[in-house]
């Protein structure tokens, strides 16, 4: 089975719908705290999904149909690869939010290829839980002032610190749906 290349992107219509409808809509409807509450809900759901699965199954790669807002290359991940990806992107987003909140330019390029999982290790769920606990603490202590400084997502528009915190929730949600698709195939 052939898959797209890393960074291959989304279908044009999907990308434009997210950029022009979804992004403005979440900016209207979500505050920092609402995004954080919804993110915590997603993490609870992911934990409850993954803890029911045999750890050896969690490193089994599973080809699934492409889920919403996920590029073609990503549909061949294992459960733990998805969790690893969430940790990699989450750490990156946390650094971006911190930098933008200081009204500084984030110097590194953000690429889709750069956040792909590489390890597929058995203990990934522990790292996942620990990362999100640290993220909650980080956001809780962050002054909720929207930055003027921005950093562009490779597929969408320029995001400020608030946008990236909302993206953190949306991204986790999208990959939770991917995990549900993988788990359905594993059974």
């Amino acid at each position: 089975m052939e898959f797209g290349k890393p960074g291959g992107g989304l279908p044009q219509l999907e990308r434009l719908a997210i950029k022009n409808i979804l992004v403005p809509s979440v900016r209207i409807l979500l505050t920092w705290n609402m995004a954080l509450s919804l993110l915590k809900r997603e993490v609870r759901i992911i934990k409850s999904l993954v803890e029911k699965i045999d750890p050896d199954k969690c490193i089994e790669k599973m080809a699934i149909e492409r889920t919403f807002a996920i590029e073609d290359h990503t549909r061949q991940f294992s459960i733990n690869m998805v969790l690893e990806h969430l940790c990699i992107t989450g750490n990156g987003i946390m650094m971006v939010i911190k930098t933008l909140s200081e009204e500084k330019e984030f110097p590194r390029d953000i690429t889709i290829e750069g956040v792909k999982p590489k390890e597929n290790k058995l203990s990934q769920i522990d790292e996942f839980v620990n990362f999100y606990e640290s993220y909650y603490e980080f956001i809780k202590n962050l002054p909720k002032k929207q930055s003027k400084a921005t950093k562009a997502h490779p597929w969408f528009v320029k995001f400020n610190n608030y946008d990236w915190s909302v993206f953190m929730y949306m991204h986790t949600f999208i990959h939770r749906r991917q995990l549900q698709a993988i788990i359905k195939e594993l059974k």
Partner: protein
């Protein structure tokens, strides 16, 4: 679109409905309170206008959402 993708879009729709409700509730509460305090007639039309005004304001504050 896969069934999972369709399910995701449907979930996004319902999340938006929930979020709109979260913004609607304080508008109802504040308008009802103001109506009571100032002895005004409670009008669903005005309630609707107030809610739409809030959504309109959110399009521009704290930042312009279409940029």
């Amino acid at each position: 679109m896969s069934s999972n993708a369709i399910g995701t879009v449907i979930r996004i729709f319902f999340i938006f409905i929930f979020l709109l409700f979260c913004w609607f509730v304080p508008v109802v509460f504040l308008y009802a309170l103001a109506s009571y305090i100032f002895n005004l007639e409670f009008s669903y039309g005005i309630l609707g206008v107030l809610f739409l005004a809030l959504i309109f304001i959110r399009m521009f504050y704290p930042k312009f959402v279409f940029k």
